[in-house]
């Protein structure tokens, strides 16, 4: 108190404002540092954050911590007070070991980081193929999400979706999008890397088929082009986090037994859907042959300027744990 009085007494108006500004700035910095999880690296990474991060050899949550650090920290993507949607793949009534859905440990960690970055609310949903309640429960995602403080939202009813135009779409001119995506501030796309009998690969772009209602029409009207079309949606995910901890190498996207699963323990993160899918598909190509030209939605995506397949010209960070 005394000190403060001293300053006030010995200061002209300009001096006072100056002091106020400096104190204010210092205070803000301190707050920001306190809220970010990796305060140390943020300042380094902010200068030159990676375009694409590939991590290998760790547990899902630990790999994500490394990756988001390289991406400049979660607070680069999620701001204080925002409503966030985390959209994993929860398509099937399968346990995590069968790799048909996104790893629940990863989903939980992403949600925790969103809250640490100041998110007001985190919502998780998917338009599932199997019965949604069974999928939410048996994937382990419902439990992991709730434990991390997120809300599970249903996506099994048409009334949860609203029609949105896709002006750039070639096969699809509009789509019914889940209200959680339309009403949130930012959303994070968290696919699992897997073989797909129809689209050949199911990664980040294909995961957007879980935010729409009328996907049967996607299958009738050129599936690969339709996947690219839905990715032209204005409100793109701020982050695409590809879970490749366990990978369904055959009989995807559902798989029939544990023999379909391999465990390469990898993770890919990028803001660019096409780039992250290209990287993940190239990674998958080592497990099982998968020429990029067979994953046609990648080329369609690049053509429609959703992202780039030319990952060699990106700032790629490779991390082994």
């Amino acid at each position: 108190m005394e000190n403060k009085n001293y300053y006030f007494h010995n200061m002209d108006r300009r001096g006072f404002l100056k002091t106020l500004a400096v104190v204010g700035a210092a205070f803000t910095l301190k707050m920001k540092g306190g809220m970010a999880v990796f305060a140390q690296t943020i300042t380094d990474q902010m200068e030159n954050p990676a375009d694409l991060v590939a991590v290998m050899g760790g547990e899902p949550d630990a790999m994500f911590q490394k990756a988001i650090e390289e991406m400049g920290g979660m607070s680069r993507f999620v701001k204080s007070g925002q409503k966030v949607v985390v959209k994993p793949n929860i398509g099937w009534d399968k346990v995590p070991e069968l790799a048909a859905n996104t790893n629940p440990v990863l989903v939980g960690e992403i949600i925790r980081q969103c809250f640490a970055a100041g998110a007001k609310e985190v919502v998780v949903f998917d338009n599932t193929c199997d019965n949604w309640k069974k999928c939410y429960a048996n994937s382990g995602i419902e439990a992991a999400a709730k434990a991390a403080g997120a809300k599970m939202m249903p996506g099994h009813e048409k009334s949860y979706y609203r029609s949105v135009p896709l002006p750039q779409g070639k096969s699809q001119k509009n789509a019914r999008i889940h209200q959680a995506i339309l009403d949130c501030d930012v959303w994070i796309n968290v696919p699992v890397l897997k073989h797909h009998s129809g689209a050949n690969m199911s990664i980040a772009m294909k995961n957007l088929m879980g935010i729409i209602w009328n996907r049967m029409i996607f299958h009738v009207k050129n599936l690969q082009q339709s996947i690219a079309d839905i990715c032209t949606l204005d409100k793109k995910p701020v982050l695409n986090i590809v879970d490749a901890y366990r990978v369904l190498k055959t009989n995807g996207p559902r798989g029939k037994s544990k023999e379909d699963v391999v465990t390469p323990k990898a993770l890919f993160v990028s803001q660019d859907m096409v780039a992250v899918d290209t990287a993940a598909a190239k990674f998958f190509n080592q497990i099982r042959e998968m020429p990029l030209e067979h994953v046609k939605h990648l080329a369609h995506g690049e053509e429609m300027k959703i992202g780039t397949m030319d990952i060699d010209n990106l700032n790629v960070k490779r991390i082994r744990m």
Binding site: H196, N200, K282, Q286
Partner: protein, 501 residues
């Protein structure tokens, strides 16, 4: 006191059973299907000797406890106000036995539909599924939209669908008829139409404990008869028609002179109303029983009792698919009384009541259809809950090896062939990869099928986007077959040490 006990127990069973039918969210644990298993007709049809013995011994000891405590339709009727004329009326004894005889004759000749319509538990089940459930879902949806607006997803919206117009009409008519009868005629249904009521009414005459009138205390004031919904008390003669008494205990409760009691023997020798043997009735019953035995023998000369129609659920399907555990449509038709518990409990919306798909003998019985969903590979709900064992209980493993129908693929109308674009939705949904995508041309893949490992879940048919006819669908198996186990490709996991880019 006795009336209070009756009200408490019957309401408990009734409300839990009703809620079990309505409960789409799985709030009540699955094992509450026991409430359906303790019902008389289901216990009989599933050959549950323990429950049958229990119910019969209960009746021999205490009379129609089933009718007043356990039967959901009986409790349902007691919820209606009753404006019955207060006089004891003669029982329609002949009509009653005739209905029972016809029901049994038809049942033993392979036509279960009449038993299904009259069985009080099944009739109530259909009312719950087709009349109450839409109302329950509607209320849930209103709650859900309010809560969802505030960002709370404890409640969620559920689609309200009329599964079958015919079953809805039957349920609605039963509902109205039961209501009107309960209101105007008291327990007319229980004492004239209900086959279970007839059986227990008969046993009731020999039961150890009965409601008995104390001739010394009774002044024939008539209050008991006024309160009797079964109108079974003859005040002047001071007698009770035990074939009609449903043990509601209202009379005991209302007698100010304690002139009625639930006791083993009356103090004075009873003036039984039907002491003298009704010879014509006895003859009638014997004739009925004889025909009951004889008629099935006549029907048996036909190769297929309860003839199964060749008409299927869709334009494409020729043989309707009976649910897992039913073994065959023929067996289903002999055991199912269409209570629709399986339909109410199916989480995948894959069961619906048949119209004529099984033929006239299979009306309202559950069949699989893939308009709204497909059978979950790991789900055994329907076969677990079926109280009649019309669907035999299955383990997950048994179900995985069961083929209710098999896949048929029409390549000429498949999207991959006609449009030259990717699809694979069918294979995506196939749990055994009986539908598998193989290289086609230009990097495209097209389905090939292996019917041996197909379980007939209908995932492919449900998701196939081709219309009006689908490029892939399930044809029913008349008799369910074994599905071969799918081959597992054993591949050694090669170590990935590089990112590949």
């Amino acid at each position: 006191m006795l009336k209070k006990i009756r009200i408490i127990i019957s309401l408990l069973i009734f409300s839990l059973l009703t809620f079990y039918f309505l409960d789409f969210a799985g709030i009540l644990p699955m094992r509450f299907h026991a409430l359906a298993h303790i019902q008389f007709i289901p216990a009989w049809l599933s050959h549950n000797i323990i429950i049958m013995l229990f119910l019969i011994i209960l009746a021999l000891l205490f009379g129609r406890i089933y009718c007043s405590f356990i039967c959901p339709l009986g409790t349902f009727m007691s919820l209606f106000p009753c404006s019955i004329s207060k006089v004891s009326k003669p029982a329609f004894t002949k009509l009653r036995w005739l209905i029972l005889a016809i029901t049994l004759v038809l049942f033993f000749s392979g036509f279960t539909v009449v038993l299904g319509i009259l069985d009080p538990y099944s009739a109530y089940g259909r009312i719950a599924v087709h009349v109450f459930k839409p109302v329950y879902l509607f209320a849930n949806n209103i709650l859900a939209s309010i809560f969802n607006n505030f960002g709370n997803y404890t409640f969620y919206k559920v689609e309200i669908v009329m599964l079958s117009v015919f079953s809805f009409i039957v349920a609605l008519l039963t509902f109205v008829a039961i209501g009107v009868l309960a209101w105007k005629k008291g327990r007319f249904y229980c004492n004239t139409i209900c086959p279970v009521g007839t059986i227990f009414g008969f046993i009731n005459k020999f039961s150890l404990f009965k409601i008995r009138i104390d001739n010394g205390k009774c002044t024939s004031c008539g209050i008991c008869a006024k309160k009797c919904k079964a109108s079974c008390i003859d005040v002047k003669a001071k007698t009770i028609d035990y074939s009609k008494c449903v043990n509601c205990f209202s009379c005991i409760n209302n007698c100010s002179r304690k002139g009625l009691s639930f006791a083993m023997k009356s103090k004075e020798k009873e003036l039984e109303k039907e002491e003298k043997v009704d010879k014509s009735k006895r003859k009638f019953v014997l004739t009925s029983l004889a025909t009951t035995v004889a008629v099935p023998a006549v029907f048996a000369s036909h190769p297929v009792p309860g003839a199964i129609s060749q008409r299927g659920a869709s334009a494409q399907r020729k043989i309707a698919i009976s649910p897992p555990g039913s073994v065959s449509a023929e067996r289903l038709l002999k055991h199912c009384t269409s209570c629709h518990l399986c339909i109410a409990k199916c989480p995948s919306k894959v069961l619906k009541p048949a119209f004529m798909e099984y033929g006239i003998g299979g009306m309202m019985m559950p069949m699989m259809h893939f308009e709204r969903g497909f059978c979950n590979y790991d789900c055994i709900t329907c076969s677990s809950v079926c109280p009649n064992h019309a669907l035999l209980p299955l383990t997950k493993k048994q179900k995985h090896g069961l083929q209710v129908g098999k896949v048929i693929f029409i390549p000429e109308i498949c999207v991959v062939h006609t449009n030259g674009t990717s699809c694979g939705a069918c294979s995506e949904h196939c749990p055994t990869q009986a539908v598998k995508m193989v290289p086609y041309k230009n990097g495209l893949t097209i389905p090939v099928i292996d019917t041996d490992i197909c379980v007939g879940c209908g995932g492919c048919e449900f998701i196939c986007p081709v219309r009006p006819h689908r490029a892939i669908y399930i044809e029913g198996n008349k008799i369910h077959k074994k599905a071969k186990a799918f081959a597992v490709e054993e591949t050694e996991e090669k170590e990935i040490t590089d990112f590949g880019f």
